[in-house]
Structures are given as structure tokens and as C-alpha cells.
């Protein structure tokens, strides 16, 4: 499988008044063509910052080191113009609230056509035909009228659909979706997830899905990366991660959710404690103080990510002993 994006030892640090804080620490992962990878983690796990950093979209006080190779070119070393050309053409990003990524004073149709005209060099007529084709395939009613409207006339779900339409139009090599359905209602979320499935089936784009919702990951992704405290703690194929989670955090995460398919007439198996404070990470494993299986070594020595099988990696001392 051809690798589209490869992150190598990516570290993201932010300068704050209390010193430098590492949001992402020594992260390496790769995404292949046609693959959908799910990045799971809680707030502050570094899941969003990883990809913002890769795309050169960090806040002013942030700095990324390491390498982020997009088809062999290091995005972190790329100049502004080159990066701008990549974004919105070969790399598309969808955020939680896409209202902000659409220009408020341009008609939706014009915005969609502009992408094709600017990036693919289509004539307006061809572009228009293509836009209609894509919108039709997404089963958006009243397309002609919809295309002449402005973003504020669209609901959150419709705007998210427009963003996916954009992704379908450019057929990017890489699509990064950061919590694309978190702000939406479940019935609308189901519609959007269906579109993602269609997108996956019809294009060869690599998809990175950043989310906190394990249900969404289960339905869509091929591979899962679990992050905690700025580090990857586990990685593996989706079926394996859900069937046999290895890292105590992944296990806890799967156990603590109330599930619609299982009725539990007892307390949930909650993970105790609070999410880690990035400004004050412990010396050992970041999860140690919340981990029921932690031993002395966990609090003193940070576990490294090790290969459990050709497809699975996890960072936990307990797995070494087993």
C-alpha cells in the first residue's frame, strides 16, 4: 500500500507563560492510500494538534519538530505557497464547525466551482456540471436552489455536507476530518457517516478521522490509533482493537461507555481520576495514576511503544511481562 502521510517522531510544543508544554510527543504513524485511520483520544490528548501541526496550522506559540512526510515531501519544511497549494487541493480538512471554513459572502455553488477552476483548471461550465453531479450523488434535495444560497442559510449538517462535497470534488490524496459529526444530531450524524462511507468506497483518498466517539470509529475506520497525554498508547486494526484491546486505557475506554447494544444494571466501569495535565506530566506512564494495574515501574519509567504483532503496537510495561 502506498503511503500518503507519514509522521516521524512528530513533537508539538507550545510556549506558555509557565514554560514550554508538549502537546504531542514523539508520534510516528503512517496512513496509506484508500485507508481510513481513526485517531481516538480525549481533550488534551494531542489528537487534533498532531494534524494541525502537520498541515502548518498551529497557533502562533506552537512549534512542531520531527517530520511529516506527505508523499515523500516534508510538510514541516515546506514553504507557505507550496503548502497553500496543497491544502484544499490534495489535502482537504473538515472541522467540527465548518461554518467557519466557508466564506460567508459567497454563494455555495460559486465556492464549490471555484475550487475546480482554481485547482483543476476546469472551465466554469465543466465545473458547474461536475458540482451538480457530486451534489446529486449526495442526494441533496433542491440542488439548483441550494447552490445559489449563502453558508448562513445552511444548517450545520448541510454545511458539513458541503465540506464533504468539496472533498469529493478535489478527490484529495488525504482527507483530515476533525470531529466532523460532534456538533451534529445523531440522525444527521448518521447521514454524514453514510457519506463518508460512500466517499471511502468511491475515491482512493486516505482518510484521517479524529474523534472521541468510539462508535463512529467502529463503523468507519480500518485502523485505530489511541492517544493519551500527547502520546500514542495503542495502534491496530479496528476489529482487533475493539475485540482485544491491549492497553489499559483502551480497555478502560471501551468498558466505561454505556452501550446501546448491552444493558448493564450496575455502575459503569469508570476510569478513576482526571485527564492528565499536560503542563505537569508524570515521569512515568501518563496513564499510571488512573490505571488499576499500575505498578511501581509505571510511575518511574515511561513505557515505549513496542510492536506486539506486525499490525499492532502498544506502550505499556504490563504487555512486556505477558
Amino acid at each position: 500500500m502506498e503511503t500518503v502521510l507519514a509522521l516521524q517522531h512528530l513533537t508539538v510544543r507550545f510556549d506558555t507563560k509557565d514554560g514550554s508544554v508538549a502537546a504531542v510527543n514523539d508520534l510516528s504513524l503512517s496512513v496509506g492510500r484508500g485507508e481510513c485511520i481513526g485517531i481516538v483520544g480525549e481533550s488534551g490528548s494531542g489528537k487534533s494538534q498532531t494534524f494541525l501541526a502537520s498541515m502548518g496550522l498551529l497557533a502562533g506559540n506552537g512549534k512542531a519538530t520531527g517530520r511529516a512526510l506527505f508523499r515523500g515531501h516534508d510538510l514541516l519544511k515546506m514553504n507557505r505557497d507550496h503548502l497553500d497549494k496543497l491544502r484544499g487541493n490534495r489535502v482537504c480538512m473538515i472541522f467540527q464547525d465548518s461554518g467557519t471554513s466557508l466564506t460567508p459572502h459567497m454563494r455555495i455553488g460559486d465556492q464549490l466551482m471555484e475550487i475546480l477552476i482554481a485547482h483543476k483548471g476546469h472551465t466554469p461550465d465543466v465545473a458547474r456540471k461536475r458540482v451538480l453531479e457530486v451534489m446529486e450523488s449526495m442526494r441533496i434535495p433542491d440542488i439548483e436552489k441550494r447552490l445559489t444560497q449563502y453558508p448562513h442559510e445552511f444548517s450545520g449538517g448541510m454545511r458539513q455536507r458541503v465540506m464533504i462535497a468539496m472533498a469529493l470534488l478535489c478527490e484529495p490524496d488525504l482527507l483530515i476530518a476533525d470531529e466532523p459529526t460532534t456538533a451534529l444530531d445523531v440522525t444527521v450524524q448518521a447521514q454524514i457517516l453514510n457519506l463518508f462511507r460512500a466517499l471511502k468506497a468511491h475515491t482512493k483518498s486516505a482518510i484521517v478521522l479524529i474523534t472521541h466517539d468510539l462508535g463512529v470509529v467502529a463503523g468507519l475506520c480500518d485502523r485505530v490509533v489511541v492517544m493519551y497525554g500527547g502520546r500514542m498508547v495503542e495502534e491496530g486494526p479496528v476489529a482487533d482493537i475493539f475485540a482485544t484491546p491491549k492497553h489499559p486505557y483502551t480497555q478502560g475506554l471501551l468498558r466505561c461507555m454505556p452501550r446501546l447494544d448491552q444493558l448493564l444494571d450496575a455502575d459503569l466501569d469508570a476510569i478513576p481520576g482526571q485527564p492528565p495535565n499536560l503542563e505537569n506530566l508524570p515521569k512515568g506512564c501518563a496513564f499510571a495514576e488512573r490505571c488499576s494495574q499500575a505498578n511501581e515501574r509505571c510511575t518511574t519509567e515511561r513505557p515505549v511503544l513496542r510492536e506486539l504483532s506486525p499490525t499492532r503496537r502498544a506502550a505499556c510495561h504490563l504487555l512486556e511481562a505477558a
Binding site: 444530531d185 450524524q189 447521514q191 462508535g215 463503523g219 475493539f242 454505556p258 444493558l263 459503569l268 469508570a270
Partner: protein
């Protein structure tokens, strides 16, 4: 578990919304809640589910008289709260409390934890001594899983989950009989959600609390609630006890809602048959004629356009508002 403490009858909350231009200005009612009736028993947890804009938060606030209902009755222990004066209602408030979605914004950033929890105590009983208040604060902080030593810290020094515990302590310190929880876990991280859900469940059992649990998350509602009411555009679609509702949803909207919830199991999630609704929620300013759900309903027929379905009550107390539920 049989005597209802709260009876809500035909509750309506309409907001006047100005529309039109300068010359044809007129006021239209936004029917946030339109004729909802339900009971809550002592020690019962009633789940209210629905999507954003279905009026579930407004319903919760109308029950507590934080928003004045346009019509209908809210009968608490035999007394209609809607008829009470501001001052009489103020004294009743120690029985009825509220927990919000965003823990941080529901706590005044300028007050310490102890001051936040103490406030309801002094508000309802001005004669309470400081020592007595302090004992109760310490007790309730322990009960919700906070260290009483943290009493002099400020909300911004706590994480989201701890802030929600403070908010719950503030609601619980008066020993209320009913708490309205408005999406109390949806702003929290997954691993923290479970802690708060367990806490609510425990408090509810220990203190025999009645809960109105407002949420869009059906998995949480199923875990926590005894009975569930489904709202859509301010109207009740279906209400049933938890097990029968999730085992066999009768209303097409409930069916769609349940099937849309992603299940964290790849095998099940990829093979399940989902009812995908088309389109978005219609504007509550301009609701569809007849059955409000008909524009998105896969089973809609001409009769749904013409008449709003009446609420039918089945033998087991289950209620449903649909013309076609028998044939589905």
C-alpha cells in the same frame, strides 16, 4: 414508586419572535414546547431525549419555572407551580434543582467552591449558622467525590469533571426531591462521563431522588433512566418504560433515533440496519402541518399531512403519537 410527585399537564412554552420587515412586522410564536404532559414518580428517573431544537431544555426550565410556561400546569406535590408568586416559588426551590451542561460556565468564576455551595443554603435558610453550613458543605463535597479540603479553591482550578461535581454538590446540598439534569455529561470527556453517570445513579438511589434527565445520548439515557420520553419539535412522539422502548420502538422517529446511534463494535456497527432520515429538522418557527415529523418520516402518508396524530395510551402506560404505529 407509584405516586407521582410531579405532574405536568399540557405544558406549552411559546416565545414571541419578531419577524418580517419594518413595514410588515409581526410577532410569530415559536412553539418550543407544545402540549407536553407527563408524570414523574418519587425516586424515578425520566429521560427526555430528542435532537437540538426539540425543546427539551426549555421543557426542563419550564418545569422549574425559570421560564414562565405559556399554558398548562406543573403540579408539584399537589400544588400548581405556575400559579405561585415569585416569592412563594423562591421558597419552593429547595425541592427542585438544576444541573447544567457546561460545568465551567454554570459556576461563578469569582467565588470559591465553598461559597458556591453555601449560596443555596443561605438563600433558603438565612438563620443557618456558619458552622452548620460548613458541616453540610463538607458532607456534600465528600458525597460527590470532592476533597473537602479543596473548599477554598476556585472553579478554574478544577477540570471539567470536577466542576460538574461541584455543580452537583450545589444542587444536592439543599436535599432536593427532584433534579433536572440538562445534558450533564455531554460536555465531558468519555472517561469522565462514566464517573458522573455513576455518581448521579448512586445519589439518585441513596437519596431517593427523582431525576429528569435531558440528553441527546440514548446510550446514557438507557443506562440511567427508568422511563423515556422522546420529543420532536416541542411535541411528544413516544413515552415508554426503558426496556420496552429500546426493545421495540414503535414510533418511526424513535426507531430512526435508536438506529442512528453508533455502536462501538465494528461487527455490529457495520452490519446493522440503520433507518437514515432525510433532511434536517424543520424550523420550529414554521412547523409542518399535521404530524410535525412527517417531512422526515419514511412512512408518512397523506393523512399525516392533514391531521396531527392524537396521543394514544396503551395498556402498559406506553404513550405514542403516530397514525400508523399499528401497521409499522
Amino acid at each position: 414508586m407509584s405516586t407521582p410527585v410531579l405532574k405536568v399537564e399540557n405544558l406549552k412554552v411559546h416565545f414571541p419572535i419578531k419577524s418580517g420587515g419594518f413595514l410588515n412586522a409581526r410577532t410569530l410564536p415559536l412553539k418550543a414546547v407544545d402540549g407536553v404532559s407527563f408524570n414523574v414518580d418519587a425516586g424515578e428517573c425520566l429521560g427526555v431525549v430528542g435532537e437540538s431544537g426539540c425543546g427539551k431544555s426549555t421543557l426542563g426550565r419550564a418545569v422549574l419555572q425559570l421560564i414562565k410556561p405559556t399554558a398548562g400546569k406543573v403540579v408539584w406535590m399537589g400544588e400548581n407551580l405556575c400559579d405561585l408568586s415569585h416569592e412563594t416559588m423562591r421558597q419552593k426551590r429547595s425541592d427542585l434543582q438544576l444541573v447544567f451542561q457546561d460545568p465551567l460556565s454554570s459556576l461563578n468564576p469569582r467565588l470559591t467552591v465553598a461559597e458556591i455551595i453555601r449560596e443555596p443554603l443561605y438563600a433558603t435558610d438565612a438563620s443557618m449558622t456558619r458552622e452548620e453550613a460548613d458541616t453540610r458543605i463538607a458532607a456534600i463535597m465528600t458525597a460527590v467525590g470532592l476533597l473537602p479540603e479543596m473548599r477554598n479553591r476556585y472553579p478554574h482550578e478544577f477540570s471539567g469533571g470536577q466542576c460538574q461535581r461541584i455543580a452537583i454538590a450545589r444542587a444536592m446540598v439543599l436535599r432536593p426531591k427532584l433534579i433536572v439534569c440538562d445534558e450533564p455529561v455531554s460536555a465531558l470527556d468519555v472517561s469522565i462521563q462514566a464517573q458522573i453517570i455513576n455518581l448521579l445513579r448512586r445519589l439518585q438511589k441513596e437519596y431517593g431522588l427523582s431525576l429528569i434527565f435531558i440528553s441527546h445520548d440514548l446510550s446514557v439515557v438507557r443506562h440511567l433512566c427508568h422511563r423515556v420520553m422522546v420529543l420532536y419539535l416541542g411535541r411528544m412522539m413516544e413515552m415508554a418504560d426503558r426496556d420496552s422502548l429500546f426493545a421495540k420502538p414503535l414510533h418511526p422517529y424513535t426507531q430512526a433515533l435508536i438506529s442512528a446511534v453508533p455502536i462501538p463494535d465494528p461487527a455490529k456497527e457495520r452490519t446493522k440496519e440503520a433507518v437514515i432520515l432525510s433532511g434536517d429538522l424543520p424550523s420550529p418557527m414554521n412547523p409542518p402541518s399535521g404530524c410535525v415529523f412527517r417531512t422526515r418520516c419514511p412512512k408518512a402518508t397523506p393523512v399525516c399531512i392533514k391531521d396531527a396524530p392524537a396521543i394514544e395510551t396503551l395498556d402498559n402506560g406506553r404513550q405514542i403519537a403516530c397514525h400508523h404505529w399499528r401497521t409499522l
